[in-house]
């Protein structure tokens, strides 16, 4: 990794963090509101399906977390386990792809 790409990752981490700060605040409030009085699958899906606004919101959430989680894990793997170099970045790239695919699949099945 060059200095320039390290700087790029730092910038992506902070930019995604700023987006996530908003997403997580909304998500926490939604969780606490939604779990009141218990949950049923039908009740959840009747509330969530067909809303373009929530679909857009959670798509942005998934995209931001796709950037944020692997970059965060990258520092942890490097500093705590001493795992650096190409193999670490390849594994994290696969992790990012998995988060993106699974996340968008979840968004589609709950909100579309």
């Amino acid at each position: 990794m060059t200095f320039r790409s390290e700087t790029l990752l730092w910038g992506a981490q902070r930019a995604s963090a700023a987006v996530l700060a908003l997403c997580v605040t909304v998500h926490l409030a939604t969780i606490i509101y939604a779990v009141q009085g218990g949950l049923s699958a039908a009740e959840i899906l009747s509330r969530t399906r067909g809303s373009a606004a929530w679909f857009g919101f959670y798509s942005i959430f998934v995209l931001a977390v796709t950037l944020h989680a692997p970059i965060g894990l990258r520092s942890v793997l490097g500093e705590w386990l001493g795992w650096r170099g190409r193999s670490r970045d390849l594994v994290l790239l696969l992790f990012a792809a998995m988060i993106l695919l699974m996340g968008m699949r979840a968004v589609v099945s709950v909100l579309a």
Partner: protein
């Protein structure tokens, strides 16, 4: 060995981040498949699962608090507020944790 409050906030930020990253695939899997089944929601009624849910919500709040602290430290000009920010991060975590526990 005495550590600064900022050291502990950094450790909590890191550990909560790893926990959230590991939780995400499970969360997405559950939303894509198991949410269609009330049997999955019945499984989540177990005390251990509820405790786990509470823990991950608290981890999310802690990570949010710690992250806001880092953004403030790096992008805002004032630096004497480090301890106040650490306290604010802890307070936010406790508030969300209590609110979620009461709502469960």
């Amino acid at each position: 060995m005495r550590k600064e409050s900022s050291y502990w906030v950094a450790i909590v930020h890191r550990v909560s981040g790893v926990a959230l990253a590991l939780f995400l695939p499970l969360h997405f899997w559950a939303l894509s498949n198991a949410l269609q089944l009330d049997s999955f929601l019945a499984w989540t009624e177990q005390p251990m699962v509820k405790a786990g849910e509470w823990g991950i919500v608290v981890a999310l709040a802690a990570h949010l608090g710690g992250g806001l602290r880092i953004l403030a430290l790096e992008f805002l000009p004032w630096r004497d507020w480090q301890k106040s920010l650490a306290a604010a991060a802890a307070a936010l975590t406790i508030v969300v944790g209590l609110a979620f526990a009461l709502a469960l």
